[in-house]
């Protein structure tokens, strides 16, 4: 069966520090992968999606970037975090039309 992993589960970082969040999927190949952010009390905002290795599409201009170095690995990065980057970051993959989400990373930027 398919499984999606995200780490870390929680992260507290100072403003201006770098960020790297990792997402890996097991049990499938060549999945469409997605990064979302959910601010407190808000809906899910699509940040990036990828249809294959090295293929990244950005949805919202910001100081974040994404990479897909391997088929089942999706990484979200930032060189310098802003306070507004705080939120709940979710990775998802697509199967049969629906999307299946990881456990998420709670990021707090202080």
């Amino acid at each position: 069966s398919q499984t999606i992993h995200q780490w870390p589960a929680t992260l507290v970082q100072p403003v201006g520090s770098p960020l790297s969040l990792e997402c890996t999927v097991e049990g499938t190949s060549n999945p469409n992968l997605y990064w979302y952010r959910q601010a407190a009390g808000r809906g899910l905002q699509l940040l990036f999606y990828s249809v294959g290795i090295g293929q990244i599409s950005s949805e919202v201009p910001q100081n974040l970037s994404a990479s897909r170095p391997q088929d089942r690995q999706f990484i979200l990065s930032s060189k310098k975090l802003l306070l507004s980057d705080s939120g709940f970051y979710l990775c998802a993959w697509r199967s049969g039309g629906g999307q299946f989400f990881g456990p998420g990373t709670r990021l707090t930027v202080l």
Binding site: G43, L44, L46, Y49, G98, Q99, F101, G102, P103, R106
Partner: protein, 114 residues
């Protein structure tokens, strides 16, 4: 741009009753409309998908309707239980054959009281 409206006010119902949640959208009808459940501190869980040429879809105690004329989907939970308490998100997939990108509503919180 496409917008989705879900009732931001929490829906409180008594156990055993039917809960009905509404999802309205503007502009073009999506090819697929999806419903997800999200518990606090967790990622959303996919529940049901309905296509634009389908009027109704059922899964156990769940029923989804899709009216492209009204630009509305209704999500019903029959015989509701306290364990059904969660936030329910509506999502539109405008182009499922390509990227599969979803546009999510902000969700409606359901509270089922025993």
């Amino acid at each position: 741009s496409q917008k989705i409206e879900q009732n931001s006010e929490a829906l409180n119902i008594q156990e055993g009753k039917t809960a009905t949640l509404t999802c309205n959208y503007t502009n073009y009808s999506p090819a697929y409309l999806q419903w997800y459940r999200q518990d606090p501190g967790r990622g959303p869980v996919f529940l049901l998908l309905i296509r634009e040429n389908e009027k109704e879809k059922r899964k156990e105690r769940l029923k989804v309707t899709f009216d492209t004329t009204l630009k509305q989907s209704l999500f019903h939970i029959t015989a509701s239980q306290p364990a059904d308490s969660a936030t329910y998100l509506c999502a539109l997939d405008m182009n499922p054959g390509n990227t599969g990108k979803l546009i999510f509503g902000q969700g409606t919180t359901l509270q089922v009281k025993p």
